[in-house]
Symmetry: C2
Subunit: 527 residues, 2 copies
């Protein structure tokens, strides 16, 4: 049952007067549930509770936190198909996507639980005392990662499960030992409430402190701004547009005590097609990219919005194959009429630019909120001169840039803003000829792909989901994989601290059997 | 020989018209050398060169970078006593300190060289492909740290060697693979120039690209601001005051592309004295702290400016012992008349606050620029009500806060800004009674010390030199120890990239024999 209320800690509250509803884009109707925006008092209470919870939660053992995360996964699964139906009704995504994304959310929670159970993630480093060192003795020093404090997580529009209420930001922050306050994404607050209920149940079942999690509802920007500016909030996780992400980054940087914001923002994910690959496999790559461009109505951070090649018979042929392939794909429903409008406006702006033409578009009839995919094209020279053409349009549209030569292509890459991904489609033996191109691409991206599509973000330790600004606000971190926890922790050093009062991770006996750096050697040994 | 010019890459340039001199505080006279401030053109050229150098320097092997860093250490040592004499003439520090700090600078360079030679610092993680995975195959993903780009390093006033031209920030940035542009600290630009000459020589001997290092001279804030705002600069390292550090942080955050600033700023390094320790060892701790407070004329980031205890016979006795001890210490020369003035003004402001009294001061005659040490005292209640009393005064002054009870003491700790260090002086068996106090301290500091003094920062992997704001601008990093390199790198992921084109750190054969996370297991194995 959806109450439409805020979870302020474990209490459902809705003292406010402002309300709103979500929208079912598939049915093109408003959903029935009424959601009440959090009041300033409720915001204040949630943050205060989070700060109180931090005092005990930060001292929970890895095993206790792992139990909590696994319990969240269990409780989410226990919601069964009802949760999937709710998700579909507030996103327009099909049930298969709902199920897949739930799997990813649950998988992320369990992978952080596994990381906590194993325990070495705290990066323990110990340098033992050298009492007879000359001229001065060396003190015993022991370091490990500790949590920052309460973290605010902004739910994303396009991942109601994997990057929202119990998504990667929440899972990594809870794993770090940070209480979390979620600002639920207004497009799917009902889904958010159901997931929040699962988290609250899990917290109670595993004896977590009251306030370790809150879920707040808001329609405009007030809730988010209040949270980011609150002195007791110590870090922020965000996935969304450059405009919104930068606004939060600026608010956080202007605080008396600035706090870190990890904002994963816009990306056009450039893809370079080399001639030999196109000569050999034009049709294969056209089919793969038609799929990648239209997948989820193009509503992925890693959607390939920018395709680049050098003019010639191969590129012409690829362009024709891509046209055929893209026209065949049935369009998908977009998340919300506002997303569909932004997409159409963005695409229209692109098309209206000098030198841009539309070469392909789905020709059939499409229901109300469906994103009708398009391929545009432009000359390299024109692209270089018009910054608008490198801006992200969120949805199923890509622009094929036809360069005069490799030099122009490298210039385009060098001029691009930071990107989550960059892809090179080529034959293995032709890659060596394109050193400059590869170097230029490496400099602009967080993940470099060979012969693949950028969509589909694997959750594993070697994945980077992030990149130079504005792909993310701080390229030194990732939003996906267990290292996402590093956004919410700081190193802390004990000097000459009594062994029995140290956290187990740093005790002589190494009771947790974790891997530590002991006098410069990586080992699980005792001291 | 001091030329007074800027190193724009390896070229000595001084096209500017603004000049200034340094000052010998021991002799209380201006030094003879004339330094010419960098022009906007010279700044532009240095940054452009650094950016060009980045293209090749980032691809240097660990061994090549290690050779460079070791060569810097060798060239610095080859300058012999002349360098030490120059250092003393521009800092007022004695020759012993010069020698010790040179040892630290050289040791830091060599420890980063060792880290590079060993190679595992890149945090390589590999998840191999699973081609038959259902529903979708898993792609091969391989991650490692890569450098951010040109880094600007601001020399500090108080560490002309260890945190300036070839100090920890420069060494860690060069180790990361980032070219460095130093803004030499104006108080010791001559020392800076000598060290810069050593770096330039080392770069040439080890075939580093032109522009891998530049050393610029400036008197006011223009040079620093121009560097931080330059679009090709990708990160900033700074050690100094909160005012200056925050100004740079703000400039960097307001750029179209914000960049990370690691600023190590102010700290009063609270020390709590527990009653049993004072009952047993009052004199010992008084002597130790009289030494720590006055060491280097109190001009250390980790100087203990705030001493706290609960009222009683033990604290009274300690206060008397500290008075005796502090009056015995001969004062030291400060870095510059302006530092001495700031110190005297800061101390006078503290003394002028309601309820503050001076309980101890060196009574003898002190030469012109010497910092005359003082101990002040105040009641806990008064301290809590007056924020001025918790501000850092850079120099040999500490305030002894006398609390009514432990609760008040904890309240004081909770109210403090972030700190580099916190110290607890106690008997091992009394520590357990003070859980709240320890928890409050942990929350505010980067390093927690038991029965010691905060001055004396060991350079080792388990050291943290950093802490919650404003001790540093980002508590997630350290300025000391090999992990300081993490400030200048970002994770980068290769997907499905051909083995022979991967960097050696990620190749199947593990040719560098580094420790990697291979399918979730830490190993040096091949694939």
């Amino acid at each position: 049952m959806i109450t439409g209320k805020n979870y302020v800690g474990s209490k459902l509250k809705a003292a406010g007067e402002k309300t709103f509803k979500t929208f079912n884009p598939q049915l093109d109707i408003e959903n029935p549930w009424v959601f009440t925006e959090a009041t300033q008092e409720e915001i204040e209470e949630a943050v205060t509770l989070a700060n109180q919870a931090f005092g005990t939660y930060k001292n929970c053992s890895g095993l206790e936190k792992a139990n909590f995360l696994n319990a969240i996964a269990d409780e989410v699964l226990a919601l069964g198909d009802n949760l999937l139906v709710q998700y579909c009704s507030e996103s327009g995504f099909p049930i298969g996507r709902a199920e897949g994304e739930r799997g990813r959310m649950v998988g992320q929670l369990r992978s952080f639980a596994q990381m906590l159970t194993e325990g070495s993630w705290v990066q323990a480093a110990i340098d033992t005392a050298i009492t007879d060192r000359v001229p001065a003795p060396k003190e015993d020093l022991r370091k490990m990662m500790v949590p920052l404090g309460p973290v605010v997580v902004f739910g994303s529009s396009n991942f109601p499960f994997a990057f929202s209420t119990a998504g990667g930001d929440t899972a990594s922050a809870l794993a770090a030992g940070c209480p979390v306050i979620v600002k639920s994404h207004s497009m799917h607050v009902g889904t958010g409430e159901m997931v929040a209920t699962a988290i609250i149940k899990a917290a109670q079942k595993t004896n977590m402190p009251e306030g370790v999690f809150s879920n707040l509802v808001g329609g405009g920007t007030t809730l988010g701004a209040s949270l980011v500016q609150h002195p007791l909030v110590k870090a922020v996780g965000f996935t969304g547009s450059i405009r919104a992400g930068r606004a939060l980054f600026d608010l956080a940087a202007q605080r008396p005590e600035p706090i870190p914001v990890f904002a994963e923002m816009g990306s056009v994910n450039p893809v370079v097609f080399l001639p030999k690959a196109l000569a050999l496999n034009s049709q294969k790559w056209a089919t793969a990219y038609a799929g990648s461009i239209t997948m989820g109505a193009g509503q992925f951070c890693t959607n390939p919005g920018l395709l680049i090649g050098v003019k010639g018979a191969e590129l012409n042929n690829f362009s024709e194959e891509l046209t055929k392939a893209i026209e065949k794909v049935e369009p998908f429903c977009m998340l919300h009429p506002s997303m569909k409008n932004s997409f159409e406006e963005g695409a229209a702006t692109m098309i209206s630019q000098n030198g841009v033409s539309k070469i392909a578009e789905y020709k059939g009839e499409a229901p109300a909120n469906y994103g009708v995919q398009k391929i545009l094209t432009v000359e390299g020279k024109t692209f270089l001169e018009n910054k608008t053409l490198s801006h992200e349009v969120f949805g199923p549209v890509s622009i094929l840039v036809q360069c005069d030569n490799e030099e122009q292509l490298v210039k385009i890459l060098n001029q691009l803003d930071g990107q989550l991904t960059g892809t090179i489609i080529g034959e293995p033996n032709e890659l060596k000829e394109y050193n400059k191109l590869i170097a230029a691409m490496q400099n602009r991206v967080g993940r470099l792909i060979f012969n693949g599509v950028p969509t589909g973000v694997e959750v594993c330790p070697s994945m980077i989901h992030g990149g130079p600004y504005p792909a993310s606000s701080d390229s030194r971190f990732t939003a996906v994989g267990i290292h996402a926890v590093n956004r919410w922790v700081r190193p802390f050093s004990y000097q000459n601290w009594p062994n029995e009062l140290l956290p187990p991770e740093l005790q002589n006996e190494n009771p947790l059997q974790i891997l530590r750096t002991l006098n410069n050697i990586q080992t699980k040994s005792q001291i």
